[in-house]
């Protein structure tokens, strides 16, 4: 990540595909681990930890969507709904059957994966625009169903209260506790995605994205891998929804509407399609953006707007900034923040003798 790779010569395919590209990378990872496990939770106030927690949740969702959109080349406008499937599955299991989080979490993910694969079935016949519209329909139908079926949504206001997760008698009910809880799953998601993408399945995904006809000819069952991409991606989305539910202590469909699907698409486009690091950059950026805008507007916005207008102005600006950034990155830098990062890195790699 931060190091130079001189003097490393790879002689086998296995070495080239290793999780740690360089021996020194292990040290980078160790430093990062110490930083996030020890230094950050001790050094930061609870408020900043709560922001980091939101970022961790967003990372899980963004990685999932990037597997589908960035790596497999499909498109989904239904990820908000897949998250709500996971969230409500877990909430119902936790409240009605009193199951612990280590059962509700995978259950929510698997349910979302099943629904996601179902919505992905049209991808056999259609792609691009049609797939976007089909997943949009999926989003709207799932939203409607959750909102109109009290058996799923728990009746009043379609929301279910959930207790914070607990393990070995420790309840994760402070931001610091939640920080470790969510950090664990964010790291798990990152490592799982890295490993998935260097496996047979990951390479099949990339082949489908790059040229589906060629992929079919070299023996990749396109339909199977497209559905698998939908299922894996929705599994991440479902887990993301469950984490969000545990974080908030409530499952509410308003947290998973169409706008959320678009937020996550914004994340991976701004961060960088088809890259794990890009998903992380995007999740950080998109989570921080509204907070920065709110800070900015609280300080200078009162010059232009009255107090009661300010709330709607902030949300409006947030939306406009998202849209503007999506367009900006699509036109100017389709590979997103990840590309900018790589440019910076390769500049400093040969610095100061860049010629």
């Amino acid at each position: 990540m931060f190091h130079r790779e001189s003097g490393v010569f790879k002689t086998t395919y296995a070495a080239d595909m290793a999780l740690y590209p360089l021996p020194i990378a292990k040290w980078t990872v160790a430093v990062l681990a110490v930083l996030f496990v020890v230094v950050v939770p001790l050094a930061f106030h609870e408020y900043y930890l709560s922001i980091l927690n939101l970022i961790f949740i967003a990372i899980v969702g963004a990685l999932g969507l990037n597997i589908l959109v960035g790596y497999t080349g499909q498109i989904s406008l239904g990820h908000g709904a897949f998250m709500s499937v996971g969230a409500y599955t877990a909430a119902n299991l936790a409240v009605r059957l009193d199951l612990p989080f280590w059962l509700t979490l995978p259950a929510g993910g698997l349910m979302a994966a099943a629904i996601g694969a179902l919505v992905g079935i049209p991808s056999l016949r259609i792609k691009g625009l049609y797939l976007a519209i089909a997943t949009l329909a999926g989003q709207l139908i799932i939203e409607w169903t959750i909102n109109h079926v009290p058996a799923i949504s728990g009746g009043a206001q379609a929301s279910i209260q959930v207790e914070r997760p607990s393990l070995f008698g420790i309840s994760f009910n402070t931001q610091t506790h939640l920080y470790y809880f969510l950090l664990f799953f964010a790291v798990l998601a990152i490592v799982a995605t890295l490993n998935l993408m260097r496996s047979r399945i990951g390479r099949a995904f990339i082949a489908v994205r790059d040229q589906d006809i060629a992929a079919e000819i070299i023996g990749i069952d396109i339909f199977r891998y497209k559905l698998l991409a939908f299922a894996i991606s929705s599994f991440y989305a479902g887990v993301c929804g469950v984490l969000y539910t545990y974080y908030l202590g409530i499952a509410n469909y308003e947290q998973f509407q169409l706008g959320v699907s678009i937020d996550y698409l914004a994340m991976i486009i701004i961060g960088g399609l088809g890259s794990v690091l890009g998903s992380i950059f995007g999740a950080v950026f998109v989570t921080l953006l509204p907070i920065v805008i709110r800070l900015l507007m609280e300080n200078i916005g009162s010059l232009f707007f009255s107090d009661q207008e300010l709330a709607s102005v902030v949300s409006g600006l947030r939306l406009a900034a998202f849209g503007g950034l999506i367009i900006f990155f699509l036109i100017v830098e389709p590979e997103g923040l990840n590309r900018l990062w790589r440019n910076i890195r390769s500049y400093f790699r040969v610095w100061p003798f860049s010629y």
Partner: protein, 298 residues
């Protein structure tokens, strides 16, 4: 028995007029897709913007209705041209997903900026057509729906003439058919791309007036745009007649579903039935009823 029949008739009439108003908006989508192969996910936001402009114009004292209508059409034409230049032109030749994402981003920008500029309250667009329902047999129709249906039909007649007879329309069809050949024949393809977006702007302007007058103008008016997709998928993405037929079908399905199913499921089937229908169509016949069939075997 005759009461049931009257109910059915009322539902059909209501559905057909709403359906025609849907097809008016869908027309803007089809025009852009037909000419430029670009997909406009911001069609509903176009309608919202023009509704906001009309409402603001009409709130100025002494502004005649015709002045407001002309102004909003002018604004939307300029808007369409500008948009094509700034957002869509740089994305020419890029994958279809990029264009989809760009228009989704555009929709977010328009929605966000409209609350910042115009505020969050609902505005009224009052047209001098009265509120007394028009009685047709046992059924009745609000005048704004009748007006919307008439405007939609007029537009379809006008656009059919435009594409069949006028020089510009023929050139636009040529561009839609094959851009390279059209260019070789001396047609300025880029100009026609911009023109297609401007025409989508005109259609949205009218859509904004009738829909804004019926529902009131605020951010939620943009949700009408979501109904465009069932309409165009049903009718075929590149068919103007398809937009008309698709709109009618979606309007009728919606109206019948909400009339006969709502009592059983507790309301809201209106926002549900069109998408189920659309999924079925996507599974069976993705190019729609009248759409051009693109054969691609994998």
């Amino acid at each position: 028995m005759s009461e049931d029949l009257g109910f059915l008739l009322a539902l059909l009439l209501n559905g057909a007029s709403i359906g025609l108003m849907y097809s008016l908006i869908a027309l803007g989508f089809v025009l852009v897709y037909k000419a430029t192969d670009a997909i406009n996910f911001a069609q509903g936001e176009f309608v919202m913007i023009s509704g906001l402009v009309v409402a603001t114009m009409l709130s100025i004292d002494g502004m005649p209705l015709i002045g407001a209508v002309v102004a909003v059409i002018a604004v939307m034409i300029g808007f369409g041209f500008g948009l094509e230049k700034v957002v869509l032109r740089p994305l020419l030749g890029r994958p279809v997903v990029a264009v989809i994402m760009a228009t989704i981003g555009l929709a977010a920008v328009l929605r966000g900026l409209s609350t910042v500029i115009f505020g969050g309250e609902t505005r009224a667009v009052s047209l001098p057509i009265g509120d007394d329902p028009i009685n047709i047999g046992p059924a009745s129709l609000p005048p704004i729906q009748a007006l919307g249906a008439v405007v939609a039909v007029l537009f379809f007649v006008a656009f059919s003439w435009f594409f069949k007879k006028s020089r510009m329309g023929v050139a636009m069809r040529a561009v839609a058919d094959n851009q390279q050949v059209a260019q070789a024949m001396g047609i300025n393809v880029e100009r026609y791309f911009a023109l297609a977006w401007a025409m989508a702007g005109i259609v949205s302007a009218l859509g904004g007036i009738v829909w804004g007058s019926m529902l009131g103008v605020d951010v939620h008016l943009a949700l009408v745009g979501l109904k465009v997709f069932p309409v165009v998928i049903l009718g075929g993405l590149d068919s103007i007649g398809g937009a008309l037929v698709g709109g009618l079908i979606v309007g009728l399905v919606e109206s019948l579903a909400s009339g006969y199913l709502d009592p059983y499921v507790g309301g809201g089937t209106k926002d549900f039935a069109p998408y189920v229908l659309m999924i079925l169509v996507l599974m069976v016949r993705p190019y729609g009823i009248f759409g051009k069939r693109r054969i691609e075997r994998i």
